[in-house]
């Protein structure tokens, strides 16, 4: 059991890492054990989940806004003239 014990300090990086790759079996077990005892780490995990969900929603809004942008008429005209000259 002692091998499974972890402090919050050990656990915080794993909470973040678990979002980026599948943790090794032992780390997963340690995390589970720790969560069973520590409410603060559970809150931290939920906060990261919230943070990342909001970031994703923000990205979607930006992508939507991008769909409505176009190249500036000046740049387009410059390229148009340049193509006419070269063809």
């Amino acid at each position: 059991m002692k091998a499974l014990k972890m402090t919050c300090e050990d656990v915080y990086p794993l909470i973040s890492e678990s979002r980026d790759h599948a943790l090794p079996f032992l780390s997963r077990m340690r995390l589970k054990m720790h969560f069973a005892l520590c409410g603060l780490c559970q809150i931290y995990q939920k906060q990261l989940e919230t943070l990342c969900k909001v970031a994703r929603a923000l990205g979607k809004d930006e992508a939507k806004a991008l769909e409505e942008t176009s190249m500036s008429p000046e740049v387009k005209e410059k390229i148009r003239q340049w193509i006419i000259k070269k063809t």
Partner: protein, 187 residues
């Protein structure tokens, strides 16, 4: 089947906006997107003779644009060298004597699913993102917003997975603290 032909004089009218948006979504820099579209038309004009007419004109131009975007990423890769020992990154996480994070995580009192619809929270996060150091910002966006896998990011920027995870951990933590200061405290 009739062969596709090129009509350069119509390129700007037909494809410039489409290509510009395609580039902008990826490089996130209007000036760079302008340059990429110009460079694509330039390269396309020069290599018109290589167009076999098997694909459409649009597919052919976008193929060139994709190459240009990859070149752009490759040439800016050197700006992503990460020095984990430098002090430039976000603050390291602090712990009190009992091993708990200090300050303790505040109670956000919000369901993660509902948080995505909270405009005020999104606005504060957008500001917090701007405050992240550039390298951390870029890697966070690629991972969490663009949804690239750790493997893809490590390959693209030639960094070790363990380094990437440390960076993402620090970035998330700084964002979390920033949200607690600027959103939670004003709720």
């Amino acid at each position: 089947m009739s062969k596709e032909i090129l009509d350069p004089q119509k390129w700007v009218e037909l494809y410039a906006d489409m290509m510009y948006r395609f580039a902008l979504v990826r490089v996130k820099d209007p000036e760079a997107a302008d340059e990429l579209v110009q460079a694509t038309f330039f390269a396309a004009l020069k290599s018109q003779h290589t167009f076999a007419g098997k694909s459409s004109e649009k597919t052919w131009l976008f193929g060139i644009l994709k190459h240009k975007i990859m070149d752009h990423f490759r040439s800016s890769k050197k700006h992503i060298s990460i020095d984990l020992t430098s002090n430039e990154g976000p603050d390291r996480i602090k712990f009190d004597s009992s091993g708990h994070m200090s300050p303790k995580p505040g109670n956000w009192n919000i369901d993660p699913e509902k948080a995505a619809e909270n405009n005020e929270l999104a606005q504060v996060l957008a500001e917090c993102l701007k405050a992240l150091p550039k390298k951390y910002h870029k890697l966070f966006i690629l991972r969490e917003i663009d949804g690239l896998s750790s493997d893809e990011i490590c390959k693209e920027f030639n960094i070790k997975p363990t380094n990437l995870w440390v960076i993402l951990h620090r970035a998330r933590n700084q964002l979390k603290l920033c949200l607690e200061t600027n959103w939670l405290n004003t709720k």
